[in-house]
Every structure is written in structure tokens, then in C-alpha cells.
């Protein structure tokens, strides 16, 4: 990776954090300033999630077709900046922040998949900053502390960085690769099932101790470090080995020892190792549709509302579900490996 690519990746990853922080913090703070109650804030947050994540596949298709990833990012940060000034009206904050977040994610996400198309590390780093931003946003929003000037400065810096650091995606026009892969629909279905179940776990789980702010932030840090470490391990060794040695150890820990703080942190850290692999696999299968792929994976986050379950209280439901999702992921990657032998480090 060249120095320029690294600067672009780190810059956009930091902005990813700022965007995720801003979206959720602005909704909470704007709602609180209008004395809205928890139920109302929940509705606004769900609407924001629907706009920010639910619209990504559709915008992704459009952005891939028109090849306007950079412009999508630029419009995204401008919309988020506008949401900041719309603080007086929570509903408008939801609309502007939600659409801004969606456009930013698909544009910058496709860049992270394109920088080194066969590697997990760039999308791993990019997504790690997102979870840190989102968690910080929840903490600041629920605490009701608003650093007006600092927040505005962060958003303005994001706009300036995007204006002066354009991204260009490599020219891959068609997805011929997919036509040559047998069982491609089965592979895609297995990958999406694995992502959906992991999303239910990742966001639907409520640890008993996470209401404590420091523990909550530590949990987010464990996820972020896990995503980056897993991506690096997978690139260095092999995807299947990384999944086998991390997720299968993580599952019993997070299911049966979730009430023990340190054990849950370690389990969450290991469980996050496999985040980037389905994303990179899909983007290689559907070459030239990186924005759509990133949007599709983010869309799966909506499954937290389908599940919304506390896996801690139902370990005997959680255990088979998580094992099934991991087996689905391994099977999909195993089926895929012969066709990307020279490019993806799936089996090594």
C-alpha cells in the first residue's frame, strides 16, 4: 500500500468515525433539547437506522452504475453538516443525517474495498472507526453533553479533507467472474445469512454490565481492535484458519461467560475477527459493484431489529445460531476458494 493510499484510507476511516458519531449524537441531543421521551427518541433512532442502512443497497446500485463514489462521499458529508445546523428540528436531523450517512458509507466503503481488492485490512480498518464513532455518539448523546464548537470543527475538517482528497476507483466494468462460479447464488446466500446472524449478535446482545460507560467504550474498542486484528491475521495467514481459531473459541465465551466482564471482552474481540472476510469475498464475486456490496452488508445490520434478542438470557438459542452462522461462512468461503486461488488467501 502506497503512502498516498494509506493517508486516504486513514483519513476516510477517521471521517467514518466522525460521521457515525455525528448521526447518532445529533439525534439524541436534538431530541433531548425538545424534551422528547425515550419512546420518541427510539422511533427517531430506528428511522435514522432505516435511512442510513436501509437505503444503502439502492444508493449503492446507483453509485456503481454512475461511477460517482467520490461525489457520493462529498454529498454525504455535506448532508451531515447540514444536519448539524438543523438541530432545531429532530425530524430533519434524522432525514439529513440518515441520507448523509448512507451516501458516505457506500462511497467511502467502496474505496476501502478497492484500495487493495484482495485484502481484508483496508475494510477492517475502515469499519473499526465506524463502531468507535457510533459508540462515542451514543455515550455523548445519552449524556446530553454537546461540545458545539468541537463537533462543528470535526465536520468542517471532514468536508475539507474530502474536498482535497478525491478517491478514484479502479475500472472494473462487469462481473464476469460471478458467471463463472458454480453455486454463486448459494454462496451469496450463505454469506448474507452469516452476516445477518452476526449482526443480530453484535447489536442485539445486551451485556448486563455495558450500561457502565467505561465498559461500554471498552466493548467498542474490543470490537474495533478485533476487526483490524482479524483482517491482518487473515491476510497474513489464511481466512479459514483465522475464522476457525477465533470465532469457534469466541462463541462459547460470549454465550456462557458473558456476565464476566473480561471474558466477554475477549470473546467479543475474537468474534469480530471474521467481519471483513464476507465483505471482501462478496466484492470479489461481484466485481465492479463495490458500493452495492458494501451497502448490502450494511443493510444486514437492520436484522438487529428482527432479532433484537438478548442472547445472554437464551444461551441455548444463541449457541446453535452462532455456530450455524460460522459454518455457513466457512462453507461459503470453502466453495469460493477454488475460483480465487490466485487472488484471495482463503485456504493457503
Amino acid at each position: 500500500m502506497s503512502r498516498k493510499q494509506l493517508t486516504t484510507l486513514l483519513g476516510y476511516s477517521l471521517i467514518h468515525g466522525v460521521m457515525d458519531f455525528s448521526g447518532i449524537a445529533l439525534i439524541w441531543l436534538s431530541s433531548k433539547s425538545h424534551a422528547l421521551v425515550g419512546h420518541d427518541i427510539l422511533i427517531l433512532t430506528v428511522l435514522y437506522t432505516l435511512l442510513a442502512f436501509g437505503t444503502q443497497p439502492l444508493f449503492g446500485l446507483l453509485v456503481d452504475k454512475l461511477r460517482v463514489s467520490y461525489e457520493s462521499v462529498l454529498i454525504g458529508v455535506l448532508l451531515m453538516l447540514s444536519a448539524f445546523f438543523l438541530f432545531a428540528t429532530p425530524a430533519l436531523v434524522v432525514i439529513f443525517a440518515g441520507l448523509g450517512s448512507a451516501l458516505f458509507h457506500i462511497g467511502a466503503g467502496s474505496m476501502s474495498l478497492d484500495i487493495l481488492p484482495q485484502k481484508n485490512t483496508p475494510p477492517g480498518i475502515f469499519s473499526a472507526f465506524g463502531i468507535l464513532g457510533l459508540t462515542s455518539g451514543i455515550v455523548v448523546g445519552t449524556a446530553g453533553v454537546f461540545y458545539y464548537g468541537l463537533h462543528l470543527a470535526l465536520l468542517l475538517l471532514a468536508v475539507v479533507f474530502v474536498l482535497f482528497t478525491p478517491i478514484t476507483l479502479s475500472d472494473v466494468e462487469t462481473s464476469k467472474k460471478m458467471k463463472n462460479i458454480p453455486h454463486s447464488k448459494l454462496i451469496i446466500t450463505l454469506l448474507l445469512i452469516a452476516i445477518a446472524i452476526r449482526a443480530v449478535y453484535g447489536l442485539g446482545t445486551v451485556f448486563m454490565w455495558e450500561s457502565h460507560t467505561v465498559y461500554f467504550l471498552a466493548l467498542a474498542l474490543a470490537v474495533a481492535v478485533g476487526k483490524i486484528s482479524g483482517a491482518i491475521f487473515a491476510d497474513r495467514y489464511s481466512w479459514l484458519k483465522t475464522i476457525a481459531l477465533s470465532v469457534f473459541i469466541a462463541i462459547p465465551i460470549v454465550v456462557f461467560f458473558a456476565n464476566i466482564y473480561l471474558a466477554a471482552l475477549v470473546g467479543t474481540f475474537l468474534f469480530s475477527f471474521a467481519f471483513a472476510m464476507p465483505l471482501v469475498a462478496l466484492s470479489n464475486m461481484l466485481a465492479g459493484r463495490k458500493a452495492f456490496v458494501f451497502g448490502l452488508v450494511e443493510f444486514m445490520i437492520l436484522f438487529q431489529y428482527v432479532g433484537g434478542i438478548s442472547l445472554i438470557s437464551q444461551p441455548w438459542l444463541a449457541l446453535p445460531l452462532l455456530i450455524f452462522s460460522t459454518v455457513a461462512l466457512l462453507l461459503a468461503l470453502r466453495l469460493l476458494s477454488p475460483y480465487f486461488k490466485k487472488t484471495l488467501n482463503i485456504t493457503n
Partner: protein
């Protein structure tokens, strides 16, 4: 081409701020009875002068139809801007 992108973004930003400031002016405009013209939240009822009781709002009071309309307009403007950028780039 770079100038074109910046110009497009600036026009988009400007048009959004027109909407924002119109909305904010409307929010501050006093109604004949002295109340705010466009109140986005109801006053919190106070019991015995000290205890605040908040209640949740109906959905369409939380998200008013004008907000939904504005959201649709923003989506259309964004899609239009993306198509326009693509068209200008081809030229």
C-alpha cells in the same frame, strides 16, 4: 472537472441552507397569540410546580408531513445531482 464538482457541491449546500433558514425563520415566527408559530415540541406539563411529566408523541407529530416531503425532495435532489455529475463528466 474538479471545479465542477466543487461548484455542484456548493450549489447543493446553498440550496439546503435556503431550506434550513426558511425553516428556522418559520420556527421563530411569533403567532398572533404570542406562541411560537411552528412549535416542534409540546410544552412539558408540570405537576405541583416541580415534577415534569413527559409523554410520547403521535408519529405524525414527531415526523410532520412537511418533513417527509422535504426528505423526498432531498433524495430527488441528491439523485439528480449524481446523474448531473455523471452527465457533465461524460462531456
Amino acid at each position: 472537472m474538479k471545479k465542477l464538482k466543487v461548484l455542484t457541491a456548493s450549489v447543493l449546500m446553498l440550496s439546503m441552507y435556503v431550506v434550513i433558514f426558511t425553516q428556522r425563520v418559520l420556527a421563530d415566527m411569533p403567532a398572533p397569540d404570542g406562541e411560537e408559530y411552528h412549535r416542534t415540541s409540546r410544552p412539558t406539563p408540570i405537576v405541583n410546580g416541580t415534577t415534569e411529566i413527559s409523554e410520547s408523541k403521535p408519529f405524525f407529530e414527531l415526523i410532520e408531513p412537511i418533513h417527509i416531503l422535504l426528505g423526498v425532495v432531498v433524495v430527488l435532489v441528491v439523485i439528480g445531482a449524481l446523474f448531473a455529475i455523471r452527465k457533465m463528466r461524460k462531456k
